[in-house]
Symmetry: C2
Subunit: 180 residues, 2 copies
């Protein structure tokens, strides 16, 4: 199986740091050319499922623009330009919760849209988290920090209360990893 | 906690069926207005983790434009306009694999980008799948259909071989559900 080739790319929308759109001409292995393949560029991000030394999960209850009603959410945020994912994960955990964690496990990196890109999600499990500072979040949404048991997190995940794909993915992967 | 309000929306890019971009003016609960909030419209999609009567997982090995190298993938595809998600899931399973399943469980619906929309992923677990027809896939990528054991799927997920966020999410949620 051969990859598709990018023959050329041109910018069709520059909406600032958070969204650029390109149009790619791509060639398939059979020679077919598609000359209007949209490609979405958004910043890479991290999500962190953080578990305290006592085994409680750090989870937010909050709003989110693309979500109806309230949602649960793990720690997360965009990478700063050039920032390594693990550093971003540690930074976001500290900023959003005031916690640091001594035990970090990667849960993988995943392209958000297999066809159009849309950035990469870097997912982490952070264990042995403990509070070291006050919260200093710069997010635009109001967030309520909860400490949930594993059973509560499992039930919430099953009930669809983590309403954003990357968040549900991080939580599901973390629960599987904790079972190993 | 109050949701953000959409004050107005204007189209800034129409790249066809697979991508439209709007610019929204949004008002935060504290009254702050952001007048250039990008909003991405892409089709909703399904992913289906299908398990045969013998307990084998139907998984593809394939390329994907946004992925480096080969990736594993569950069944999946875009909803047709107006198509209910479960019907799309059954259709994609039959088209891509030639299998039907008698036991369907929803694994939830998730907005792909909590800030910018980018469609909704509808995830399913299909059990008791059995072959009823030849494959009739219309996908652009060449796909090799594999029958993997649960242990092989778990290992592949842990190793990051499902390289697209929605695919890893569907597989992780399915494994958790199968444990209940």
């Amino acid at each position: 199986m051969e990859p598709w080739k990018t023959l050329n790319r041109r910018s069709v929308l520059d909406a600032g740091r958070f969204l650029t759109v390109e149009m790619h001409a791509v060639q398939l292995p059979d020679g077919q050319v598609i000359d209007d393949w949209p490609w979405v560029i958004t910043p890479d991000y991290v999500n962190v499922v953080a578990v305290t030394e006592a085994g409680e999960f750090l989870v937010f209850r909050q709003t989110k623009y693309a979500v109806d009603g309230l949602t649960l959410a793990p720690v997360g945020g965009y990478l700063e330009p050039g920032e390594p994912p693990l550093l971003a994960a540690r930074r976001e955990l500290l900023e959003e919760t005031g916690y640091e964690a001594s035990d970090w496990t990667t849960l993988g990196e995943y392209v958000v849209d297999g066809n159009r890109g849309a950035g990469t999600a870097h997912l982490f499990l952070a264990r042995n988290a403990r509070r070291v500072a006050e919260r200093d979040a710069d997010d635009l949404e109001e967030q309520e920090l909860l400490l949930l048991s594993r059973a509560e997190v499992e039930q919430a995940l099953c009930d669809g209360e983590f309403k954003v794909l990357g968040w549900a993915s991080a939580v599901a992967l973390a629960l599987l990893r904790l079972d190993e």
